[in-house]
Symmetry: C2
Subunit: 207 residues, 2 copies
């Protein structure tokens, strides 16, 4: 989207989005006022209505944009020809990194769904299903090829996504482990959850 004025750096709409995202994540949609958002941007509250028709539209914009970007990012990351195990590993690393780097947007996307009006809710839910479907597809492929051994692809997909997204609740960039180390650990757990054959030693003695 191009600038409409040449004046100050980022256009106002984008600064409103950024301010709202940060405030909604920190304190919740209902607890944040339009005046606060305006204050963070450096304009009066009335000016926000030149860019978003109301508070609801602002929330809906943030959630839809986030889900659209997430889906597009995975589509461009997913490689066509590789084993299901390799794809699942790629997904695990992608999901962790993408979510950790956008913790505000992720937080809002999970917490503020209930504040969406029905039509907007359905739209965002549908995007979420699309994303979950990516994991189901990987698991189906791995089961079909014999790489994975699992009972229920849908449940396993939900479990894997929940596990990976959970990193956001405790991750701190200056923490004990680097993001790469965290990715390694989770990759192992995700593959094990799917019943992937492990190259390493976990098969010492069955029984």
């Amino acid at each position: 989207m191009a600038r409409t004025t040449g004046s100050i750096g980022v256009e106002t709409a984008e600064r409103i989005r950024a301010a709202a995202e940060q405030l909604f994540a920190a304190r919740g949609f209902a607890a944040v006022s339009m005046r606060e958002i305006a204050g963070a941007v450096g304009v009066q509250a009335a000016a926000l209505y030149n860019h978003f028709s109301n508070k609801q539209a602002l929330l809906e914009d943030l959630l839809v944009t986030h889900m659209d970007s997430l889906i597009a990012a995975w589509k461009s990351e997913a490689a066509a020809d590789e084993t299901a195990g390799k794809t699942l590993e790629r997904f695990a690393r992608f999901h962790i990194r993408y979510h950790v780097e956008r913790s505000d947007a992720v937080f809002i996307s999970y917490m503020e769904l209930r504040n969406l009006e029905p039509e907007n809710f359905r739209r965002v839910e549908s995007l979420r299903k699309t994303y979950e479907g990516f994991v189901v597809d990987i698991l189906e492929a791995g089961r079909a090829s014999g790489e994975f051994e699992l009972t229920d692809t849908r449940i396993t997909a939900m479990a894997i996504i929940a596990m990976l997204t959970g990193v956001n609740t405790w991750y701190r960039s200056r923490g004990r482990l680097s993001l790469s180390e965290i990715e390694d650990i989770y990759t192992t757990m995700v593959l094990r959850s799917a019943g992937a054959q492990q190259k390493e030693a976990s098969c010492l003695a069955a029984e």
Copy 2:
């Protein structure tokens, strides 16, 4: 807690707790007014202040009570002498069932932490750490005994808890699978995540 009046069924404080829990879960702490809670109970808003000093105290009561009960429930469920694998399975089933049956309290406990004032927040966080510690302990024991094979007990504990709690986001009591079936599937995934030796076939060929 005993009744203070013999008049109408449950005492008012308990009915306030129940109404607040349901409303906070459905629409969020900030979005729910004291008038609404009072309306659900069948009293005037001013009457709530006879039982809770303010809205914050009501939220704090709900979160602390929930965490206390959760911790007590696991303590009474945990058996002393059994293998780590068996204990982890018991924990997985316990966690799923307990959380699914109290979805409102669970939801609030995760979502409304940020609305707690600092002192109350620290108190609830400390209880949460206690609960997470139970899982860390099980994993440590299993690693020490050679039952589990994992890189990092703390990370694995967080991943397991996130995976199990995730059931709440999609579980419906009249859904495709029974709670027992769900528990079975998750138990397998949790044990695999911890690198537990499986009796079943997942060890066909290493490499």
